[in-house]
């Protein structure tokens, strides 16, 4: 069975919420919709205090190339526009809306009926995706329309759908595939049309055999689309790793997938694109997983943007006793949260409760030079060396040793028998080296 060819680990999967039906999170009294995502510039508020808004109404306009529209996820009255601490730990601009009823924009088709045919042109599709404010839902939140518009002179020959969900614990993409298989496949045909490609492959890790079977059966009705089961291996959901796993092409250092003729979209993003193009529905909600070893009710929830995570967690039975750390996202790449009073954002894929005893890192010991970090690095780097150089501020050496290639998957820190915080130091070095490179380019 295929997988990527360099490095990788296999942590305990702990997918406790697998197979749990998607439940709809109730509406709270107030939502706080972030105007900004983790990358790109914040969008510009186009509503003001006292305005009445409906579900799906534009409230933040994209501001710059890497930026996306933001829409209201509820109906009600704008209370204020202020800063709000978000899941990434920064205070960012957000629109506070007091919820009144649940009134949707009339243009949005709320029926659950499958709409297969799409007669729009490539440009119309891209415009709809852009207007709907769709960003990559795998976590990076990169605007989808930008990714689907290759730079001039570059042409994609294959679309790869990232349905790997390689993070332990998370199951939201898995459940979405089981419940919205046809919609996802229509979404794929729409993206294929926008890109002008005739071939698409859905990459699914083989710990989701039911999803592989379900999608394979459906895909028979969609020419050019196939499902590829992949050997379970982290970080297969990394874009470069997935391309290597599926079509055996390696994106060169510092380049993007289009260089090897591939475009990758996350499976949940694909579903959002279906809704945007076929149902006129902007990005106002997404599925997330609430889970943990002691979670009272691990499950998958459809949550409107801007709902405080605490509200969803309460619905799922609250924070279990003995929780030492709460992570927004998966255990390998998620961010630990200071509290749950942060709003649901487009990139929120899960809330994970980690038990007290697993929350504290073990004491750091000497590097025993076992080279396990080198063996597991999916980018072929030497994490032990980069950490040493980062500790000593050796920036030019770090650049030579390709620190900018690091995808921050955390396999090195996960593996290290001496509990060395390899990725912490590499990240620190990366940000410094990245700054040096940008300064040099600006000169």
């Amino acid at each position: 069975m295929k997988t990527f060819r360099l490095g990788g680990i296999h942590p305990q999967e702990n997918k406790f919420s697998a197979g749990k039906k998607i439940q709809i999170a109730e509406l709270p009294k107030q939502v706080v919709i972030p105007l900004s995502h983790y990358i790109g510039s914040p969008s510009e508020a186009v509503v003001k205090k006292g305005d009445l808004v409906k579900v799906g109404q534009l409230i933040g306009k994209a501001n710059g190339f890497i930026s996306a529209n933001v829409h209201s996820s509820v109906s009600g009255k704008v209370n204020k526009i202020d800063v709000q601490l978000d899941a990434s730990g920064y205070k960012r601009p957000a629109v506070f809306i007091d919820v009144e009823g649940d009134e949707w924009e009339e243009t949005i088709d709320r029926s659950t009926e499958l709409k297969r045919d799409c007669n729009l042109t490539k440009e119309e599709i891209l415009a709809k995706i852009k207007d709907a404010g769709i960003v990559g839902l795998g976590g990076a939140t990169f605007p989808a329309h930008v990714k689907l518009s290759p730079p001039p002179g570059k042409k994609a020959d294959i679309l790869i759908i990232n349905a790997v969900e390689c993070e332990p614990y998370l199951t939201c993409d898995h459940q979405l595939m089981l419940e919205k298989g046809d919609e996802i496949l229509v979404g794929i045909t729409i993206i294929m049309k926008a890109l002008g490609v005739t071939k698409a492959v859905i990459g699914v890790e083989n710990n989701k055999k039911d999803a592989v079977a379900h999608l394979s059966k459906l895909a028979a009705n969609y020419p050019g689309v196939e499902v590829q089961a992949l050997k379970v291996q982290y970080p297969q959901g990394g874009e470069k790793q997935l391309i290597d796993a599926v079509i055996r092409r390696q994106v060169p250092s510092g380049r993007i997938p289009i260089e090897v003729g591939a475009v990758v979209q996350n499976v949940a993003t694909t579903y959002a694109i279906y809704e945007a193009v076929q149902k006129n529905k902007p990005m106002v909600e997404r599925v997330m997983t609430i889970t943990g070893k002691d979670a009272p009710n691990p499950g998958n929830y459809l949550v409107r943007l801007g709902i405080y995570l605490s509200h969803v967690v309460d619905m799922a039975g609250g924070v279990p006793a003995g929780t030492g750390k709460i992570v927004g996202g998966g255990p390998m790449m998620g961010r630990s949260l200071m509290n749950l009073n942060v709003p649901m954002a487009k990139g929120s894929s899960g809330v994970l409760f980690i038990k007290d005893e697993e929350s504290v890192r073990k004491p750091i010991q000497n590097c025993i030079r076992c080279a396990k970090c080198v063996t597991v690095c999916p980018m072929g780097l030497e994490p032990f060396l980069l950490m040493n150089q980062s500790e000593r501020n050796m920036w030019p050496e770090m650049e030579t040793n390709r620190t900018m290639d690091c995808i921050e998957c955390g396999s090195c820190s996960y593996t290290c028998p001496s509990n060395r915080p390899l990725l912490d130091y590499i990240r620190y070095g990366k940000s410094t080296v990245g700054g040096i490179i940008r300064n040099r380019a600006a000169k």
Binding site: K240, R369, R402, T415
Partner: protein, 320 residues
């Protein structure tokens, strides 16, 4: 809930630890140790126990009284050094020499550089080579293998196959005897089959990768094979070279020492080929009948250079 821990990702750890790796290697050495105990009996037991206890004790004392640092004897690395040293010694060597070798192994080979992770040379081999140079007679007089022997210092002696080759006198043991270990030699190096069981365990547990042992053994086989084909009278067959002396023990357990070997597969192959070449050169053209220890120590010295100039295969290096 009111005291949440904040830290960067990843938030889970695989559970591997230094002591798990050290214990793993010790477990992998058990077959070789059992073979030594079977063929050399009491002497093997005395030497092994002495070396392990001495190494652990010296590390403890040095950390407590000289370095005044926290003790690391529980990580198992000192015990492993002791065990490896013992397996590289003749079983009829006096106890005080074993203790002196342990002191050099731990004191000079390891602690003087800052303890585990910082030593450039394999500590057990530093101890062994010190003993080989200081006590040349005792270190090259091996007892004849007698199952469950109860004699220790006054055991009957036997030459090793390599010494027989060097002096061109005496008769080589049969290939079967070499494979199972019924021949003269250091107490842990004689049984090829026991060491290969240990190798399988190390590979299955993913404590080491195949690169170092395979490259060493393949190089020795090919290089010794070429010499043998060129002149079968003067040079022994590659099979004899593989199964005799410290080659297998060295290739599987000494050369693969984490701290002193290169840190990526390509570097490991270069290192392994180097050890193989030097071993065959010393065995066939040098003054000593055996050269694995020296070959490993020499290549240990090259390890930093290998790490600097030979880099792992980068992602996208061979982009289509």
């Amino acid at each position: 809930m009111d005291k949440l821990i904040i830290s960067p990702a990843p938030h889970i750890h695989g559970g591997d630890s230094v002591s798990k790796n050290m214990t793993g290697v010790i477990i992998a050495l058990i077959p070789a140790l059992l073979a030594g105990l079977y063929f050399f009996g009491l002497g093997a037991l005395v030497v092994t126990v002495t070396a392990v206890l001495a190494c652990v004790l010296f590390e403890f004392l040095i950390q407590k009284y000289l370095l005044k640092s926290e003790s690391s004897i529980m990580d198992g690395s000192a015990a492993l050094t002791g065990l490896l040293l013992a397996l590289n010694l003749p079983s009829n060597i006096p106890v005080w020499m074993v203790i002196a070798g342990s002191l050099v192994a731990i004191g000079i080979g390891k602690m003087s550089f800052g303890g585990l992770g910082n030593n450039p040379f394999n500590p057990a081999l530093v101890g062994r080579v010190f003993m080989l140079i200081s006590f040349p007679v005792e270190m090259t007089t091996w007892p004849r293998p007698v199952p469950f022997a109860t004699t220790y210092l006054d055991a009957e002696t036997a030459a090793t196959p390599l010494a027989i080759l060097k002096s061109h006198s005496g008769e080589l043991p049969s290939t079967m005897d070499m494979f199972f270990g019924n021949m003269g030699g250091s107490l842990g190096e004689i049984s090829a089959v026991a060491i290969l069981i240990g190798l399988a365990y190390l590979l299955i547990r993913k404590i080491i990768t195949w690169h170092i042992p395979v490259s060493i053994l393949a190089t020795v086989f090919v290089f010794a094979g070429i010499l043998h084909l060129a002149n079968p009278e003067a040079y022994a067959s590659p099979v004899v070279h593989l199964f005799t002396g410290g080659l297998l023990l060295g290739a599987v357990f000494m050369a693969t020492d984490y701290v002193t070997s290169p840190m990526n597969p390509r570097g490991m192959l270069v290192y392994g080929v180097g050890i193989g070449l030097i071993t065959v050169i010393i065995r066939n053209f040098g003054a000593y009948p055996e050269g694995v220890s020296f070959a490993i120590l020499i290549m240990n010295g090259f390890t930093p250079l290998i790490n600097t100039y030979i880099k792992p295969r980068r992602f996208g290096e061979k982009a289509k």
